[in-house]
């Protein structure tokens, strides 16, 4: 008997939908403005932002849904990736800033700094910036995770500590002498890799690239979760101490997925900043991390397509609400948290699963998808 529903195929579908949807929007936006199918610029910007958020949601789900670590600080990795990209975009401004200084970004001239801090070296090169958008969140996640998992901090303690982490970073980035633009952050970007950021063509390409990145994250994560490592992850989530007595080190397993998740979040942040056009310390705010968690909760944790759906739905709702009934948005978001946890603990994906025939529970790595047909 074949299983009626192969759990991870949802990720493939999500990847296909994201890629085709994103590219379609991008292409349609290039149609002449009078055309009935023309997609306006603001919609392209919004779609790009949502997809970047969806990347963050996948990152959160990887650690929460699959490893049982409720992170309340993933926006930190997202923002770090964003800052790395923002630094490159700042350098790309060159002499077109308000002060026209060829060596220093505007805010440094404003603070009367006379030379570029060492950690800004190299950011005039896009590949270096992209590498840092991965390395910076990865390194932070590595240090933090190594410390936290080694000492077996878990559950709500870990959640609170992750929140403290992003809070501390927020305070740090607010400081002018950190050299990241303080309160105002990095903004006023002109172009990326020589292409004008305000050209419809550039924006369409960026949207398509973001969709591609998300699709890639989905497929890579699906491969990882489908491997023996994925099975170990579920094992650690469900019975951590048991894995220890078999001889595994859960801290290594968690650390690996934690760092991987941070890398993905960093990618999301990079794509976010390039399309939104600003990054400031507010992105580190603890509330942002928790909001990312609710996207995952709404969409359905423990599946890869759920978070993507959740991020799109919640953010679409947020855009509509804040446009039409701004004072009601926080009520709506708050109720969404409450109602989801009370009545929809498995999210939309859970509804979908409940509608399907029984027998196909949860994630199923390696063995199930390896088609053993021995069930009587």
């Amino acid at each position: 008997m074949r299983l009626p529903w192969r759990p991870l195929s949802g990720a493939d579908w999500a990847a296909v939908c994201v890629l085709s949807g994103g590219s379609a929007l991008a292409l349609l936006s290039l149609l002449p403005e009078g055309s009935p199918l023309h997609v306006p610029q603001f919609a392209v910007g919004l779609a790009g932002k949502y997809l970047a958020y969806a990347i963050l949601a996948v990152a959160v789900d990887l650690v929460w849904g699959f490893a049982g670590i409720l992170t309340l600080g993933h926006a930190a990795f997202f923002a770090l990736g964003g800052y790395a990209m923002g630094m490159y975009l700042m350098r790309e401004i060159g002499t077109r800033g308000v002060y026209g200084n060829p060596n220093l970004p505007d805010f440094m001239v404003f603070l009367s700094w006379d030379h570029l801090p060492w950690y800004w070296y190299g950011f005039s090169h896009l590949p270096f910036a992209l590498l840092m958008a991965l390395l910076a969140p990865g390194a932070l996640a590595g240090c933090f995770g190594w410390l936290a998992f080694r000492s077996r901090v878990s559950g709500v303690y870990l959640s609170i500590i992750t929140q403290a982490l992003t809070y501390a970073l927020m305070l740090a980035f607010f400081r002018n002498d950190m050299g990241f633009g303080g309160n105002n952050g990095l903004t006023d970007f002109k172009d990326v890799a020589g292409a004008n950021l305000h050209q419809p063509g550039t924006r369409a390409a960026l949207l398509a690239l973001t969709a591609l990145a998300l699709a890639f994250c989905l497929l890579a994560s699906r491969a990882i979760l489908g491997s023996r490592f994925g099975a170990l992850l579920v094992a650690v989530r469900d019975a951590e101490s048991r894995t220890r007595f078999i001889g595994y080190r859960p801290e290594h397993i968690k650390l690996l997925v934690w760092v991987y998740s941070a890398l993905i979040a960093g990618v999301g942040g990079a794509f976010y900043v390039i399309q939104v056009g600003i990054i400031n310390p507010g992105e580190f705010a603890p509330g942002n991390s928790i909001e990312a968690v609710i996207w995952v909760a709404v969409g359905g944790r423990g599946t890869l397509w759920g978070p993507v759906l959740g991020a799109l739905l919640v953010n679409l709702g947020k855009t509509l609400f804040t446009g039409l009934l701004p004072e009601l948005w926080l009520y709506a978001l708050g109720l969404l948290f409450i109602l989801t946890t009370l009545f929809l603990p498995r999210g939309v994906a859970g509804l979908w699963r409940a509608a399907k025939p029984a027998g196909a529970a949860e994630v199923t790595p390696e063995m199930t998808s390896a088609d053993h047909e021995a069930v009587p």
């Binding site: 078999i246 390696e366 390896a370 053993h372 009587p376």
Partner: protein
């Protein structure tokens, strides 16, 4: 970490506990407990609630650090090692409450337990080898779980979970198996099957079984250690210890 200790452990002793004490908030869970297990031996540990049976298992597997005393396995000091290190050294443990990975299939449960690589990163690229598949099939057959191989472990009955856990121990192939109340919640028939299975396992492994069920212990037919208030009260065959008046007093109350 693995420095041998110069203790009078006999060459034939596999597990060696000497004067081990553990205190929780003033409560003495183990009180100068000493125990020696020979290579290839199967030992049954009995004792009333709170006698320190589970704490003893915790100390051996590294979950609890003893306040004082020596714990050695093949001459290697266990008191400074953590759980994964001890498990890799060759000590497997089955818990009182069956803990299997409920959201994985029976087959995947067994796969994860198989002796071999334990590196997280390597698991990313691990492929199912024919050797592994063969070992899994063998364990499935031995634990009578073959019909359920592709079911989620969480969907198994209580007895089946106990057997899966024993199967995982087999997959781990440790030199020493610590088995905590393996027949709790089993039917009589299942209990006797389990006793057979353990005797079978004992042909190639050393085993420590903690159990309340005297019929089961009798069926095992091995040397019995009686724990009481954290130390050894009596040791000998089932007949010897059940004739011991102190044991009777402890079990039946004063």
């Amino acid at each position: 970490m693995t420095a041998p200790i110069g203790t009078p452990a006999t060459p034939s002793s596999l597990l060696y506990l000497d004067a081990v004490s553990v205190t929780f908030d003033g409560f003495r869970a183990l009180n100068k407990l000493s125990l020696v297990l020979a290579h290839g031996e199967m030992r049954a540990i009995i004792g009333p609630n709170g006698a320190g049976k589970t704490t003893m298992m915790d100390v051996i597997t590294g979950k609890t650090r003893p306040d004082t005393g020596e714990v050695a396995f093949r001459g290697v000091d266990l008191t400074r090692m953590d759980e994964p290190a001890i498990a890799r050294l060759g000590i497997g443990r089955k818990f009182q409450k069956p803990t299997v990975f409920e959201h994985l299939t029976v087959r995947t449960n067994l796969l994860l337990s198989l002796k071999g690589g334990r590196q997280a990163f390597a698991a990313l690229f691990a492929r199912l080898t024919s050797d592994e598949a063969g070992r899994i099939e063998a364990i499935l057959a031995r634990t009578r779980l073959a019909p359920h191989a592709n079911r989620m472990a969480g969907a198994l009955s209580h007895g089946q979970k106990q057997w899966l856990e024993i199967g995982m121990l087999l997959g781990q192939d440790p030199e020493l198996l610590l088995v905590d109340e393996p027949v709790a919640g089993m039917t009589d028939a299942e209990t006797m099957q389990t006793a057979d299975l353990l005797r079978d396992i004992n042909r190639t492994h050393s085993v420590v079984v903690v159990e309340h069920d005297m019929a089961f212990v009798r069926a095992l037919g091995v040397r019995v250690t009686v724990l009481h208030e954290g130390s050894v009260l009596a040791e000998g065959s089932v007949e010897q210890v059940s004739a011991n008046p102190r044991v009777v007093e402890v079990y039946l109350g004063r």
